[in-house]
């Protein structure tokens, strides 16, 4: 194919009505784009990416921009594709508990659209304002993953635009479906390095009639582990078992969901497991489902086998980390002071020895530059091969992902 004439601005504008020069506000983790385009449809996104391919532009997708500093900064960005115009809840099939929505749709908007039918997408919103696309790209999850698992399980159909502009679908709009490869899972957590997700289909769950939150103080990590395990291995079937571990003790909180009478009976049983100091309430504590870090800190995601949680809590405290997350899933989030970057490696070694991993999600730029964000990644060669197939020129969010992908 012969090269294309004229400058990229004109070329991009020919495919998408809303294209402008990038400015400082558009920087992706410190890397500023030359152009920002805001396509209005999947088809327009396809045309846009075909044009970007013709000009060899590096492309980063943006939703609400709440997590653009996560992962590694891109090695270059020419074009930011702002997906905020793709914000529609396209179809809510209430009788089938299925919803179709565009990637730029804020999760809160989707929840508001399905709520009148007594339904919800069973995913948490750790950062307010997150869009579906942003959650998919970062594999965002929260407390309810213990019972409902994560987006990759809740997403049953996906529309993507490839680096070459081709639009492709996988899955469908029925929950049970084994036709073809599940590309939705591949996209989930890929930080926009394989393709741009423009639309997705999700299964929904009924909003429970009743909920109860039980919270118990834990003096030390062993205590927290015992409380959590007592509930996890019981018959009360919690939707979430969370631990909040600011250091020097903390608390374990569980969420029960179900019918009014059922929840009442299960709360009685859970009280017996959590001890005399338990508090029962209808609402969640303020820290529930929120990441523990503050601006300027090192943000961690730590995973381990369920039985490893107490050790992780104990070591975390000794390392000066604030930990919080799902003791029921073995997925915790942590905050370290920027000056404590040297604690990342020993914490990672512990996670690995406990059957999990540690990923540095975010950190101040100078700290990030010095850290191995991902740690050891088995099957990295295979991941590179996948990347090479989807994005042979390495133009989608280059450098942001594992192994420099």
């Amino acid at each position: 194919m012969a090269p294309v004439a004229t400058d990229p601005m004109a070329g991009l504008s020919g495919t998408c009505a809303d294209v402008r020069q990038g400015d400082a506000q558009d920087a992706v983790d410190g890397v500023g784009p030359a152009y920002v385009a805001r396509p209005g449809s999947t088809e327009e996104t396809g045309e846009l990416l075909r044009a970007a391919a013709a000009y060899g532009l590096a492309v980063v997708a943006r939703g609400a921009g709440t997590k653009l500093t996560w992962a590694a900064p891109p090695t270059r960005v020419d074009l930011v594709v702002d997906l905020s115009a793709l914000s529609a809840v396209v179809d809510h099939a209430a009788g089938d508990l299925v919803v179709v929505a565009e990637a730029g749709c804020p999760l809160a908007d989707l929840q508001a659209a399905v709520a009148p039918a007594g339904q919800r997408l069973a995913i948490d919103e750790p950062i307010a304002g997150s869009t579906l696309g942003g959650l998919i790209a970062t594999n965002g999850s929260g407390p309810s993953r213990m019972l409902y698992l994560t987006l990759r399980e809740l997403m049953i159909g996906t529309t993507v635009v490839r680096a070459d502009g081709v639009v492709a679908h996988s899955g469908g709009r029925v929950v049970k479906n084994v036709a073809g490869y599940d590309l939705g899972k591949l996209m989930t957590g890929s930080f926009g390095t394989l393709a741009l997700v423009t639309r997705a289909v999700f299964r929904l769950h009924p909003v429970p009639e009743s909920t109860a939150v039980l919270m118990a103080p834990a003096a030390d990590a062993g205590d927290a582990g015992r409380l959590a395990a007592a509930v996890i291995h019981s018959d009360v079937v919690p939707s979430a078992v969370e631990v909040d571990w600011p250091g020097g003790g903390g608390s374990v909180a569980i969420l029960l969901e179900g019918s009014e009478r059922g929840v009442a009976a299960r709360a009685v049983a859970a009280r017996g497991l959590l001890g005399a100091a338990v508090e029962v309430s209808a609402g969640m504590p303020g820290w529930w489902g929120r990441y523990p870090w503050r601006a300027g800190e090192i943000a961690l995601k730590l995973t381990c086998a369920l039985s490893g949680v107490p050790r992780l809590l104990a070591t975390g405290r000794d390392s000066g980390a604030v930990l919080r997350g799902s003791a029921g899933a073995g997925v915790l989030y942590g905050a370290l002071p920027a000056e404590a970057a040297d604690r990342v490696v020993p914490l990672r070694e512990l996670c690995t020895s406990l059957g999990g991993s540690l990923v540095v999600l975010d950190a101040p730029p100078e700290v990030k530059a010095r850290l191995d964000l991902w740690g050891p990644v088995p099957a990295l060669d295979l991941m590179r091969a996948v990347k090479d197939q989807f994005d042979p020129d390495h133009r989608l969010a280059p450098g942001r992902f594992v192994g420099g992908i």
Binding site: E153, A168, V178, L183, V237, G375, A379, V386
Partner: protein, 519 residues
């Protein structure tokens, strides 16, 4: 529970490839090259222990089909792998010789996913059957792929846990096969499929190298290759170890059998139950013809004169199950149920399930041959699709018995015919194919749990565009550029991995937009 031997029945078939809109891959069975086979045989013979390599034609023939006996191909060679090293060695040799290999577990699959290649090696995994670790504290077990599904539950039961995915062949099917097919089962309405219950695999990739995907903990860093491999029908490699999630055994289980005048009534009850926010562990439906067959086969004593029955199972905390049962009873009664029975104990529960779980094999009692179809529709489309199936059946004279997972819209129409009667075979295949078309036009899928395999690859273009299939095969090319891992399955036409078809087709968008000229 009775053995559900639907998959061992010798006369079942599914949709068939003859009615597809496009022909399946020209040569999915392969043409043997004696020199290449001999070269591979010699190398494998040197690498594998005595007895692990089968070359005798009569013994090779015993592996000629899986649970879909309609398709038969005698493999060139069979390897009975006993260790991961045997698998790796075999795959490496195959890759070097560009010889296809096909993994096989218990051979119960219903889409021909483990159909051998005449020009390739069948790797039989059933000897890899150690349960390496059961760790209730971690909600995990680590098992080899040849382990039988139900044996995982048996190993976990003493600790109060079980393995949730329960395909109806669970007494004989293997975890490796479940992984390949992303198997479901009656209880996946509430608990999900294999993909939701596997957190790690050791995989021999199609070039023979070994990689670890996932592990005890969820969310391993990097691409979710684990989620991609699950359900890929053996086209991305062979698993040699599988880490599965164990689920706490429910405190209470209530199983309800309700008889309705018609499938419309039973469907309305299903919609009412789901619409009210109740999520049963299972909701299964059978129509009159399926009930007749089950009665003939296992005397399950379902309600007399029922036009449809529902089997609804509720499980979880006793206090919740009690509430849900009250709701289910009310919705069944409101929608015309004339008889509602509740299993008083495990024996009664087993009897209720026996009728349902034996249904596939049972139609053998009322018809010499039958096709087991597997399609999915949105649950709300159930009444109209069932009516359309009845019309197809009525106008063609081909009888169709309906058994399905009503809760998630997964239909298993059983298309009955007599192969001895001229033309019936073709008529049955045509109806079976039209049922898939109904599923697609209702917004559903051509397979909910049996897989695409060799049987439905010709139907993939009806559900997915060329670009969709091309994109899926990019994954295939990343894992298996030599196209040796179970080739001829899933995709109707292979993608050439060295090129990117369609990339530069059509008018360039810039030229189209009039802002640039191509020169």
């Amino acid at each position: 529970m009775s053995a559900d031997l639907d998959s061992t029945h010798g006369t079942t078939k599914t949709a068939g490839s003859t009615v597809g809109p496009t022909s399946p891959e020209q040569d999915s069975a392969g043409t043997p090259d004696p020199a290449a086979i001999e070269a591979v045989r010699r190398e494998l013979d040197a690498l594998l222990p005595e007895g692990a390599l089968i070359t005798d034609h009569a013994r090779l023939r015993t592996y000629e089909c899986d649970g879909l006996a309609h398709y038969r191909v005698t493999p060139a060679l069979v390897v009975l792998a006993a260790t991961a090293e045997h698998v790796a060695a075999t795959v490496t040799v195959c890759s070097e010789h560009r010889m296809p290999f096909v993994a096989r577990g218990s051979g119960t699959g219903l889409s021909g996913g483990a159909l051998p290649r005449a020009d390739g090696v069948l790797v039989v995994m059933s000897q890899l059957r150690a349960i390496r670790q059961v760790s209730p504290a971690d909600h995990r077990a680590v098992v080899e792929p040849g382990v039988i599904n139900l044996d995982v539950t048996r190993a976990a039961a003493p600790f109060g846990y079980y393995y949730a995915p329960d395909p109806s062949s669970q007494q004989i099917c293997s975890i490796g096969g479940n992984l390949a097919e992303n198997s479901g089962g009656a209880h996946c309405l509430k608990y999900g499929f294999t993909a939701h219950h596997v957190t790690g695999v050791d995989l021999i990739t199609p070039d023979g190298s070994q990689v670890q995907l996932g592990g005890l903990a969820p969310d391993a860093p990097g691409y979710d290759l684990l989620g991609t491999v699950i359900g890929s029908e053996g086209t991305l490699g062979i698993a040699t170890s599988v880490t599965v999630r164990l689920t706490r055994s429910p405190e209470a289980v209530t199983t309800v059998l309700a008889g309705f005048p018609s499938t419309d009534d039973a469907g309305a009850a299903t919609s009412a139950i789901i619409g009210a926010g109740v999520v049963p562990a299972a909701i299964e439906m059978m129509d009159a013809l399926a009930i007749e067959a089950a009665e003939a086969a296992v005397h399950c004593n379902y309600p007399d004169g029922a036009g449809a029955v529902l089997v609804v199972e509720l499980d979880g905390p006793a206090a919740e199950v009690e509430q849900e049962f009250a709701a289910v009873r009310r919705f069944c009664e409101e929608n015309g149920a004339f008889e509602i029975r509740v299993a008083a104990d495990d024996t009664e529960r087993a009897l209720i399930w026996k009728g349902r779980k034996s249904a596939f094999a049972a139609v053998g009692r009322i018809s010499p041959d039958y096709i087991v179809q597997d399609g999915v529709i949105p649950r709300t489309a159930l009444p109209e699709v069932l009516r359309a199936i009845a019309e197809l059946s009525g106008s063609s004279g081909v009888r169709v018995a309906n058994v399905f997972h009503a809760g998630d819209g997964n239909l298993h129409p059983l298309v009955l015919f007599d192969a001895a009667q001229p033309g019936q075979d073709e008529a049955a295949e045509e109806i079976s194919g039209k049922i898939l078309d109904l599923c697609i036009s209702a917004g559903g899928s051509i397979t909910g749990e049996h897989g695409v395999g060799v049987d439905k690859s010709a139907y993939m273009p009806r559900m997915f565009s060329a670009a969709d299939l091309d994109t899926m095969q990019m994954v295939r090319c990343a894992f298996d550029p030599r196209h040796v891992s179970n080739p001829g399955k899933v995709f109707p036409t292979p993608r050439l991995c060295g090129e990117v078809p369609g990339r530069h087709q059509g008018e360039h968008p810039l030229a189209k937009a009039g802002v640039a000229e191509i020169f």
